[in-house]
Symmetry: C2
Subunit: 152 residues, 2 copies
DNA sequence: GTTGAAACCTCCAATTG
DNA sequence: CAATTGGAGGTTTCAAC
């Protein structure tokens, strides 16, 4: 499935503002509303658009502390990886988790209120798992750039 | 500004589906539409809701390769940091960039089509900057968990 | 907080190039 | 086949209570 220029412009607009109307888009793209509407429906149907979400200010909702966290396991056989993954997705502090090729095994994005809550997460949740070899914390001081957009 | 239970339920709903209607919310929360509407407007006005965005499938739009990348600079005086930041935000491959307290200086989320494009980014763009000491790539093999939601 | 109504938007059928 | 027009039904927005 190929995206033409109009599809890309629609996706770009929706990636910055999911609430833009077909009317506004039809004005911007110099088309009537129906083709815009049908393209959006097609992009949704094909799963190119995965969904529409509200983004919150993490400081204002009381989760100002962002940390990336690298994890090395002791045992690396498949059942051990799967067990770690099953456990880590249940921690609500962990909003992202990636299996990594490199010096360690997993990279976690961890969102908490303060150092006390991070310490609690680390000691009582993450390090409490059986198969943990090593955890290293990378505290985010400044968000230089952040975007949910995929460049097209 | 405090969030009560109703606010939290609204935010949770909007974080998973920005297109939910006030009507559906009013049904779920057993309230009429107006208080829902006014709470959402307040949450937007106060910047608790930063915006509404469409999320795309990065595989389906041709950016399947995700890499995190740690960067160490040579010079760390403020003007050097600022220069690096000014340059890195302009790379469209870099969708996130964090200034980190730890063993290195910056953590980058990099989105590309394939290894060739990553190589090109690394060699011709990132490593071409003057002040780079060291770059280390962490290739994402599996996305175990991913969410734009902030837990409330 | 509720009701109710105007304005706007989504969605689709009919139609045209 | 892909666009436009136009209108029914749903949603947002807001005034009055």
């Amino acid at each position: 499935m190929e995206l033409d220029e109009i599809d890309k412009q629609i996706l770009e607009a929706l990636q910055t503002n999911a609430r833009i109307t077909t009317k506004e888009l039809s004005y911007d793209l110099k088309l009537s509303q129906t083709p815009i509407y049908e393209r959006i429906k097609r992009l949704e149907r094909e799963g190119i658009i995965k969904g529409y979400v509200a983004l919150l200010d993490k400081e204002k909702v009381g989760k100002p502390m962002l940390t990336y966290c690298s994890v090395q396991l002791k045992e690396h056989a498949k059942p051990f990886l799967e067990q770690f993954e099953r456990e880590v997705v249940n921690f609500n502090e962990v909003v992202e988790c990636y299996y990594i090729a490199g010096n360690f095994d997993y990279l976690l994005r961890v969102l908490v209120k303060d150092i006390a809550q991070y310490q609690n997460f680390l000691v009582n949740k993450l390090a409490a798992l059986e198969n943990i070899q090593n955890v290293q914390s990378m505290f985010v001081m400044t968000e230089v750039k952040w975007s949910t957009e995929t460049p097209l």
